[in-house]
Amino acid sequence: MTIPRIPKVSIDLLVNNEMRNVVVRPSDTLLRVLREVLGLTGAKPGCENGDCGSCTVLIDGWPMKSCIMLAVEAVNQQITTIEGLKDTPIQNAFLEQWAFQCGYCTPGFIMNCHALVNIHPDANDKVIQEWLESNICRCTGYEEIEAAVKSVLSKQRSDGRYSH
């Protein structure tokens, strides 16, 4: 049986709690679809090779580099981009700790750190370092970013669990 060629597909993506219908090439990365089809430009293209983390989004709560994921793979999964976070503890901590300068890496770092404090509320220094190593910042010395993570972790430990 001949399998027909399908140049573009229509898919539903659940982005920031909103169901969005998009028409994509199956070879489009999630990063490209978020930015160029959905207009969500918070996830940044850096290396587009899985190395820098500036394109990080959350898939079912876990950080993923959207440049090494196809948009079609994200069907039936919850996608969260920086546009979906509002006034979260980690965003406030980035402001309080001066954890950014030019800001290009910041959405990716925030997504990763947001997942970290949710998934590992008891993260120790080793876990924090392991997670932060997924992202690259050209401006800061990373110390401020680490301080932001630690401030959220210690606050949520004293307040009880972190909530979205």
Partner: protein, 277 residues
């Protein structure tokens, strides 16, 4: 951006994946099985591979198994490195997988992708080489189990239309004393200069290497030399390094000479630690 189009199929069973592959192949679409997809995307983006159809195997239940069953540890090919690292069912495997790539990438990279990939550094395979694991392969001729030593020679030798479903490892091997060391030139990210994984079984040390030559390997000849306890340890290591299966890798991370130096020192640490166990 990936500069060409391909179609995406998500298989939900082994027969469906094989059927899709055969049909797409007959139509000249050069299909590829797709797991985590990280390597396919990066190679496609830079025009180093070409396909007109990918068949995602992540929806196949057998590829997602990660559990002990009947005195075997079954690791599905679509299980992510993060899952292997966190659910420590095989501590040596968890350890080596937890050092591959970076934390976020490990949420996407799968065990199957790591052992079948083209990348020189394929950490997941080291534990399976040491544990004499079997590879469950599905393809047009059905489902077959083959010893890893038969099917992994520098890289996974799969026939057209075949894909890895699971890796089976005797539970006993998952409990043996082990050590895994990854040496990088600088810091704790980036490609390693040398990775050594070793385990001890019945007083004999087994050793597997990645980053040393252009492919991961385990060598019985090297193990025989290293286990000759009548010879001083340093001499054994010197001899072992003369019996590598291929020239030492030389690249921007490390010259062959530097790599030899790091390799010998790391072997000394690994063997000293394991011989004391």
């Amino acid at each position: 951006m990936i500069p060409f189009d391909f179609e995406y199929y998500k298989a939900t069973s082994i027969p469906e994946a094989i059927y899709l592959f055969q049909n797409l192949f007959l139509q000249g679409r050069n299909p590829l099985y797709y797991g985590g997809g990280t390597e396919i995307i990066t190679l496609a983006r830079t025009n180093r591979i070409y396909t007109e159809a990918v068949i995602d195997i992540k929806g196949i239940p057998e590829c997602n198994v990660f559990a002990h069953h009947d005195h075997k540890l079954l690791v599905g090919s679509a299980v992510t490195l993060t899952r292997v690292s966190e659910e420590r069912l095989f501590p040596l495997l968890s350890r080596t997988c937890s050092e591959a790539a970076d934390q976020t990438a490990r949420n996407k990279i799968t065990v199957g992708g790591n052992i079948c990939g083209r990348i020189i550094f394929r950490e997941a395979v080291l534990s399976f080489l040491l544990a004499d694991s079997d590879i469950l392969i599905a393809g047009p001729s059905g489902i077959n189990k083959k010893p890893i030593h038969e099917i992994f020679k520098q890289r996974m030798r799969l026939q057209r239309g075949e894909f890895v479903v699971q890796v089976h490892t005797d539970t006993d091997y998952t409990k043996l004393p082990f050590i895994a060391v990854k040496k990088r030139r600088i810091g704790s990210v980036g490609y390693p200069v040398v990775t050594i994984a070793a385990m001890k079984k019945e007083q004999l040390v087994r050793v597997a290497f990645s980053g040393v030559c252009a492919f991961p390997f385990r060598s019985h000849q090297i193990e025989t030399i290293l286990n000759d306890r009548l010879t001083p340890l340093e001499t054994r290591i010197e001899r072992a390094v003369r019996h590598l299966p291929a020239p030492l890798l030389s690249n921007t991370d490390a010259s062959a000479e530097y790599r030899a130096f790091v390799l010998k020192n790391t072997l000394l640490d690994v063997l000293t630690a394991l011989e004391e166990v």
